[in-house]
């Protein structure tokens, strides 16, 4: 995914990105203060919000020209919280990730069921598959939300503050899994976060939204430390 001279926002320009390339196998942490446009950027990257100017290319195709049905096979978005749905079992929830691939009645083939199973295995949550989603803990539910996106088999996985409602150990577990998935399944992963230390530990690049001005810049993790991130994004 390549962004070239992109201006992002609803009506007025909120952010500008001169150049950004998102490659497979890497994890990108998106850092910025509240209200600076992290979610707006993610909405733009999944093609929900059109760019104000500039271009986003995916494998040489312009994002604005990709049909909705194809987008659902390219991008998956995990929200900060999944509260569970009454009477829905965890494996049924993951199976909904297969929606873009199933027939008119949503029938799951053997291949679909196998992919659902593998997605849960990757995250180590197969033993919870038959539980109702309302019976799971917040951490477990977030794992299932990621498993559903894995079952959706998208090249790009975006996560909007996926660790916001989790305790420290669950935050770490989720981010560890994301790093593993990026490497083992060769996915491009972009997540927004306020946990600076964890973001530095579990990402390859940081995409920073500055607290002043609107030029988004990306840095390799080695170049950054918590203090530098705070200076750029928050103070």
């Amino acid at each position: 995914m390549k962004l070239e001279k992109v201006r992002i926002g609803y009506k007025e320009s909120l952010l500008e990105i001169d150049q950004l390339t998102i490659v497979p196998g890497k994890v990108y942490a998106l850092i910025g203060a509240n209200g600076r446009g992290k979610s707006t950027l993610l909405q733009t990257l999944i093609g929900k919000l059109p760019v104000l100017s500039g271009d986003i290319f995916i494998e040489r195709k312009n994002l604005s020209e990709i049909p909705v049905t194809d987008k659902s096979k390219l991008f998956g978005l995990v929200h900060s919280k999944f509260s569970g749905i009454p009477y829905m079992r965890a494996n049924e929830f993951v199976a909904l990730g297969r929606t873009p691939y199933t027939n008119a009645f949503g029938r799951l083939t053997k291949k679909d069921l196998q992919i659902v199973e593998e997605s849960m295995e990757t995250l180590g949550i197969t033993h919870l598959a038959n539980r109702f989603t309302t019976e799971l803990s917040d951490g477990e539910r977030q794992m299932f939300a990621i498993a559903r996106i894995l079952a959706q088999e998208t090249n790009y996985i975006f996560l909007d503050e996926p660790t916001a409602f989790l305790d420290y150990s669950n935050k770490k577990r989720v981010l560890e899994k994301l790093s593993e998935i990026a490497k083992s399944l060769n996915k491009s992963i972009v997540y927004s976060s306020h946990d600076l230390e964890l973001a530095l530990e579990f990402s390859d690049e940081l995409v920073c939204i500055p607290h002043q001005g609107n030029k988004v810049t990306n840095f390799l993790n080695e170049e950054m430390g918590v203090k530098k991130v705070i200076t750029i994004c928050f103070e």
């Binding site: 909705v68 659902s72 049924e92 929830f93 929606t99 873009p100």
Partner: protein, 332 residues
């Protein structure tokens, strides 16, 4: 994922409970008629035989109408609950029934008779359901909050209710009587020769609904997520409102506004089957809705010799405590 237990339960409903309800319904009429007479009425019909006429012109249409009305309202309620992500949604609460009532009132009691044919009431009820369905749909694009939308639906219902009262107040005695009889609700007003067209429209609504199961399953996650899964929300909303308005309008046209079934049956089905898979919920609501209304009508028939009960009252009298019981049982 449809489990064996679920499909067994569905087959049981279809093959055992519904036919049993049919026999009971047939057996509890005011005049007792033998089984052999029943068979003769269908296979060697004699138009001078009054018992044959009762079976052909009254009991069979009444049973079939109860099945279609129960099934249609339940399926409509299920779709509304999923679309608005709210277990309180239903064609009645969202004001779709009120649309039918208003248009029937306009057609029967004012000089404003757009539909003067025999199908006047039916066409008015259908048009009313569609118009109010479209109003709710248009509002749903602006009002994102489900509870606010339900409140708007209730207001819409009250508003049209008030308009109906004004029309009733100003109308003449004869048309007022016709409207009041219609509004009380009855499974008996359908005539046997109307059944085929009713069934045709019902089938259209139900088949349409079955083609929406995949979208409905995604909508359980909410519209944003369903959109992420490649579901065209705008198209699906239109289709759901269309099918719901067709089914609700059809039932309301012939049976009057029936309040309870569309709300209760889908909730009961979810509690019983413990799933959100519409490939189970849809046929289960269809069957349970039919069984539920037929059972209510059996009670109406049993009590008919002592006290004539309107079907609307019976559905709520039986259904409300049942739903409360299941909710309490689930919480315990």
């Amino acid at each position: 994922m449809i489990s064996k237990k679920h499909s067994l339960f569905l087959w049981l409903l279809l093959l055992v409970v519904l036919p049993s309800a049919f026999f009971l319904h047939f057996a509890t009429g005011e005049i007792s008629i033998s089984w052999s007479t029943f068979q003769d009425a269908w296979f060697s019909f004699d138009s001078s035989n009054s018992e044959h006429l009762i079976i052909r012109e009254f009991r069979t249409p009444r049973f079939l109408m109860a099945c279609l009305a129960g099934a249609g309202l339940s399926v409509a309620g299920l779709m509304m609950q999923t679309l608005f992500n709210n277990p309180l949604a239903g064609p009645y609460i969202l004001g779709i029934n009120s649309g039918s009532s208003l248009f029937v009132a306009l057609s029967l009691m004012t000089g404003f008779t757009i539909f003067k044919s025999d199908f006047g009431i039916v066409a008015s009820a259908l048009l009313g359901a569609f118009v109010f369905g479209l109003i709710i749909l248009a509002l749903s694009f602006r009002i994102k909050n489900g509870i606010s939308l339900l409140l708007v639906g209730l207001m819409l219902g009250s508003f049209s209710g008030a308009l109906v009262s004004v029309i009733q107040f100003l109308s003449e005695a004869n048309s007022l009587k016709i409207f009041t009889m219609w509004a009380m609700g009855s499974l008996q007003s359908v005539q046997s020769d109307q059944l085929i067209s009713i069934f045709g429209l019902f089938l259209l609504g139900v088949l349409g609904s079955f083609f929406l199961v995949k979208s409905l399953n995604s909508l359980v996650l909410g519209e944003t997520e369903a959109d992420q899964l490649g579901i065209s929300i705008r198209r699906v909303r239109m289709l759901i409102i269309g099918c719901t308005a067709l089914l609700t309008g059809l039932v309301t046209a012939f049976c009057g506004p029936i309040a309870f079934i569309g709300l209760a049956v889908p909730n009961l089905v979810k509690i019983l089957f413990k799933t959100q898979d519409h490939r189970i919920l849809m046929p289960a609501s269809l069957l349970l809705g039919a069984v539920f209304l037929v059972s209510c009508d059996i009670l109406v028939q049993i009590f008919a010799t002592y006290v004539p009960l309107p079907i609307n009252a019976v559905t709520s009298l039986i259904g409300a405590p049942m739903v409360i019981y299941f909710i309490l049982k689930r919480l315990a």
